[in-house]
């Protein structure tokens, strides 16, 4: 009996020991798994922290670059006489037959055609300035097309440096990124070396005794917008005169290198300025009314019409300014006496 109990107790101990060892195995395994899981979590958190640090260095680089740009912008004097919109350049098509620049702002922000476009550029002294890029020619809701200075159809008036004269700037220069300054007065010295080769140059130049200092030379001098057309504000830097061109009749020409480097253009500023109205309007009384604008026989007024117009002319003195032309084209005779009857062959014609 006692042996039986002892045997049963031994078997029981064996099983309980086995269960204990199995339980401890499971427990230790669970503990190990738990520790592995903790290590994994720690590793993941470390990786995240490392990724954050890596991202941080990228952010620092980006912020440094942005900071450098903003510092430059602080030194960049913006025109404050017109509201401006900054835009990013999407596309610069310089190898196209019609050179254009496409930007990412459109009518949504109030951009309209004929608004002038400027950009940050370095002037001849190495300082930041707002230089002319061109003008807006087409606008959609979210983008616009700029006609740059180097477009073949571009033209504007610029002031010739050191003089009170204007010249015409033309994008159809025949050169890659330079524009043509045309209709320069023949008396203006552009290149001192070229003096004497042209018949209309200063008379002293051919003697060899005259020495033109750099003050006379227009090469290396900046040209500015004249403001005469009403599209561009006055005084916007355009470019530098780099070379004297071929003579255009009795006028001189010169090549101008724009301040803006079109192949490195990233951002532009659109000045919200619409073209001004003409300062001088054509007087209404001088407006020529063309009765028969098409080809054919000119319908000369009859004597009866002339007399009726003559009566009206006493009420409207400006009608006396209308030209009197004989049908054969000879100049009219001056009629000093308004009450005297007109010549039968002298009729008033509305051209």
């Amino acid at each position: 009996m006692v042996r039986g109990i002892a045997t049963f107790q031994g078997v029981g101990d064996f099983f309980s020991g086995s269960f204990d060892s199995f339980g401890s195995l499971i427990k230790s395994s669970y503990n190990k798994l738990e520790s592995f899981e903790r290590v994994r979590e720690e590793r993941d958190s470390c990786l995240n922290v490392m990724e954050e640090y890596r991202q941080l260095s990228k952010d620092v680089d980006r912020l440094k670059a942005e900071n450098a740009i903003l510092r430059q912008e602080l030194n960049f004097p913006l025109r404050n006489d017109y509201p401006a919109v900054r835009a990013e350049v999407l596309s610069v098509r310089l190898n196209s037959i019609y050179r254009t620049i496409i930007i990412n702002k459109g009518s949504e922000v109030g951009i309209k055609p004929y608004m002038p476009v400027v950009a940050r550029a370095l002037d001849e002294k190495g300082k930041f300035t707002e230089a002319l890029v061109g003008k807006i020619i087409a606008v959609s809701k979210g983008s616009s097309v700029i006609q740059p200075l180097i477009n073949s159809n571009f033209s504007m008036g610029v002031s010739v440096p050191g003089t009170n004269l204007w010249a015409s700037l033309n994008g159809n220069s025949g050169r890659g990124t330079e524009v043509l300054l045309d209709y320069i007065d023949s008396g203006i010295v552009i290149d001192p070396k070229a003096i004497g080769t042209f018949p209309m140059g200063p008379a002293q130049a051919n003697t060899g005794n005259t020495y033109f200092t750099e003050g006379f030379s227009k090469i290396g001098k900046p040209v500015f917008s004249s403001g005469g057309s009403g599209v561009y504000p006055q005084g916007i830097p355009v470019g530098i005169i780099v070379e004297e061109g071929t003579r255009n009749g009795s006028f001189k020409t010169a090549y101008v290198r724009p301040f803006v480097e079109f192949d490195k253009l990233l951002n532009v500023i659109i000045l919200k300025k619409l073209p001004e109205k003409w300062r001088e309007e054509w007087p209404a009384e001088k407006t020529i009314q063309i009765d028969g604008p098409y080809f054919g026989e000119i319908d000369f007024p009859k004597e009866k019409d002339y007399n009726s117009q003559k009566n009206n002319s006493t009420k409207k003195p400006f009608n006396n300014l209308k030209p009197l032309v004989k049908p054969d084209g000879t100049p009219p005779e001056t009629n000093t006496n308004p009450t005297s009857p007109p010549d039968t062959g002298n009729t008033e014609v509305t051209p």
Partner: protein, 171 residues
């Protein structure tokens, strides 16, 4: 089949965007015309109809970037059709005339790309001169030389991308 076309359209759009990029600018407004190389490649490898249609749509895409311009009568004048006509003419002519041309040699590709680029630019210039004005700043030789220089490399890449060997059966 549809995927092929989609991939061709993707290549055309990529060429269009690369044309507007400053990435390949050499200075003095000298940069390649990727679209004309794209059209020349497909005209050589796939024939006249591919050249014609790719030239038409590629040119149309190029024309869209020229923008409209408000005239004195307040009407907007677009320049749609300039490049589409010149590119489609070039594509068709290449497909028709150069059926038996030898294009497996990179030197021959260089010569063909130079010649057809200058021809396409001359056609575009002529059309622009006829309908608008004479453009003295339009580059013929430099862009053609640039295209000729990068043409073989682009032909190699296009051949890999579109799996179009020179002995591909043309339509």
């Amino acid at each position: 089949m549809i995927l092929d076309k989609v991939f061709i359209i993707f290549g055309m759009l990529l060429s269009h965007f690369l044309n507007g990029s400053n990435l390949f600018e050499l200075g003095n407004a000298i940069r390649p015309d990727f679209m004309v190389i794209f059209v020349i490649f497909f005209a050589f490898r796939k024939g006249a109809m591919y050249g014609l249609w790719l030239g038409f749509f590629g040119g149309l895409l190029t024309d869209t970037s020229l923008g409209g311009e408000i005239g004195p009568d307040d009407a907007i004048y677009y320049k749609i059709g300039l490049h589409s006509l010149s590119y489609s003419l070039i594509g068709y002519v290449i497909g028709k005339v150069t059926r038996s041309a030898y294009t497996e040699n990179y030197i021959s590709i260089t010569i063909y790309v130079f010649g057809f680029t200058i021809l396409s630019r001359f056609l575009t210039y002529l059309l622009f001169w006829m309908f608008f004005h004479s453009n003295h700043s339009y580059s013929f030789v430099y862009v053609s030389l640039y295209n000729a220089f990068i043409g073989p490399a682009l032909f190699f890449l296009f051949t890999l991308a579109y799996r179009l060997e020179p002995d591909e059966v043309r339509q």
